[in-house]
Symmetry: C2
Subunit: 359 residues, 2 copies
């Protein structure tokens, strides 16, 4: 078993080899750690900056055994890590952070909202459905229009659809594949915000200033942070973060998506048990980025400061937009972060740029 705090030189495992794994690896290296990436895709973004890549499916038992043997702690860059993989690592005596409970809650939208409400983190009204009839009932219960989402999987707007009238609920349920769903009341939000927070192995927490987020077609386009918010709103975000982190006995960084209502009150949309796209601004806006913070937390190091040193407008570079790198590189106020992905598919997150603004 690993002994915490982890000494530099230890290896940290990361399941998933995309941009989040890449930026985690870079942050880990600054602290003297090696990283080992588990990812089926060869030449993945994270693997090209890691000490080692194990090229295998996420649930491959032999690969997981190698990962457990090589690493003092294992983390992940996406919340849909197969539960069996985490169980396997645990059975091998390998520390996984954030833990299995955080992952299980985050993987099921019904469990997630139930957990949030139980811990005093308010959400929209919701109801679950496993059949078409239940789906009709659920929409009637929360009121149309409502948002129907598969309980599991789905990201960037995938696996969900709006139901304008209760009568359309059965068709929507079938269109989503006839799998268990959650139906959420429409939220009259005025703004989408998010809060990135961390909890260390000692239970200490650290919360970054709120980000204001703008999506297009279900994909994050732009974040501005620190967002201009009333003190009461910022305080509520801190309370929500503390409840989520404490309620899950969490270790690591969490990204919590929020709806701001007209009166400044917040509802939780969802949380991701990992570093988060709306926290990329911290790379240039804070002394310790969300990536270093996550590594600090899972390694049992003390958390770093989270105050903003500058205001940042973070812009995702999607698909072909990455070909604008030369123009962006010439902007003195812009810091360019590119992920080394080979193919600029439509909507694919290829990089981001942090534009500095006065605080």
């Amino acid at each position: 078993m690993a002994s915490f705090p982890l000494a530099p030189g230890a290896a940290i495992g990361i399941i998933g080899g995309g941009q989040l794994g890449r930026m985690l690896s870079l942050a880990a290296a600054e602290l003297g750690f090696d990283t080992v990436i588990l990812e089926p895709e060869r030449g993945c973004p994270a693997g090209r900056v890691a000490a080692r890549t194990i090229a295998a499916p996420y649930d491959d038992p032999e690969a997981l055994a190698k990962l457990a043997k090589a690493c003092a702690v294992v983390s992940y860059e996406f919340e849909n890590v197969p539960a069996a993989a985490v169980d396997r690592l645990a059975a091998l005596g390998c520390e996984v952070a954030p833990g299995a409970r955080a992952l299980a809650v985050a993987q099921d939208r019904l469990e997630e909202k139930t957990f949030l409400n139980a811990h005093g983190a308010p959400t929209v009204a919701f109801a679950a459905a496993s059949t078409a009839d239940e789906a009709v009932q659920a929409v009637a219960e929360v009121g149309a229009p409502a948002l129907m989402k598969t309980r599991r999987e789905g990201y960037d707007g995938k696996g969900q659809r709006w139901v304008e009238h209760a009568a359309d609920a059965a068709a929507a349920f079938q269109a989503l594949g006839g799998v268990p769903v959650i139906v959420e009341a429409a939220c009259p939000f005025v703004r989408e915000l998010s809060v990135i927070a961390a909890r260390g192995r000692d239970g200490a927490t650290a919360v970054y200033p709120l980000a204001e987020n703008h999506h297009e077609g279900g994909i994050l386009r732009r974040s501005i942070a620190p967002a201009g918010v009333a003190k009461a709103t910022a305080d509520q975000a801190e309370r929500i973060a503390a409840r989520v982190l404490g309620g899950l006995d969490y270790v690591g960084v969490v990204g919590i998506e929020l709806f701001e209502l007209a009166d400044g009150a917040l509802l939780v949309n969802e949380f991701a048990p990992r570093v988060h796209n709306t926290g990329h601004w911290t790379q240039d806006g804070c002394e310790v980025s969300q990536f270093e913070q996550h590594i600090r937390a899972i390694a049992g190091w003390p958390l770093g400061p989270t105050h903003a040193i500058v205001r940042v407008e973070m812009l995702n570079l999607l698909g072909e937009e990455v070909h604008g790198w030369a123009r962006l590189a010439a902007e003195p106020e812009s810091r360019v972060h590119l992920y080394g992905k080979r193919e600029a598919k439509a909507g694919r997150k290829m990089g981001h740029v942090n534009r500095m603004r006065p605080l």
Copy 2:
């Protein structure tokens, strides 16, 4: 031949796999580049964050051919790269930056000082010697006490010794191995400063604020930047940097070590054609670090901003000092940078810490 500016996804070669290569690799990755390290030592610090390592001697012809084939441009992390290696890369049509002339001048202390004076960058008085008799003559010429240094090799205070009296010159010459030396007049400096500067492929230059440096036993212990200096001193440093960069038709980052005299005037001690230990403060003190700046320059990207956003005290962690990581990690004002070296030998640079101070 490579076409500049290099597009993200290109590979950048780095000769040398130590901490400077490591930090260059991390910076290159943020801009979407892969790095390929040439280094005989397996498991070297840079190799653990690079896309590929070629484990071979620096002058191995086959290894150099592989490097040239894989990379759009090759740079290096130390100035004692064998000239034959650079010639071989050039013969293969591989772009090397900084170029062969910068390297040749920097490798020979006599050529270096001759170049500096010829380009209006003042140094202490000096004289060359290739025999014991010439050494005596040289010390007589510049006046004792004088500092005798081998013309080639030597770093961190190695390969040099003080000559208190002209009569000791022959013995000092023999003690240094009987190789060609340069004898330098003692410099009545009040402070050691350095300036980190860069020149792009378009000839544009960018100069960071001066750092004040403190050595112990010939090894850098501490830098404070921006150093408090008179405007005339800062202006002279900028002029010196411009002359060095322009005179060598330089591409990349250079580190120039300076002596400040009582009246604020500067003499050049030496320059290193690479990122420099006294520039590590830029990682946390500037928007674009010296490492990113070097990658930008050699990739033909526009240079980034060089102004300080905070004052930094950079402290090298030598040998066993690295074992103080837990205490340093707990200091909110300290950013820890560790190199992943396995063995904490005495005097070995294991990492550094940047402590934030108000500007």
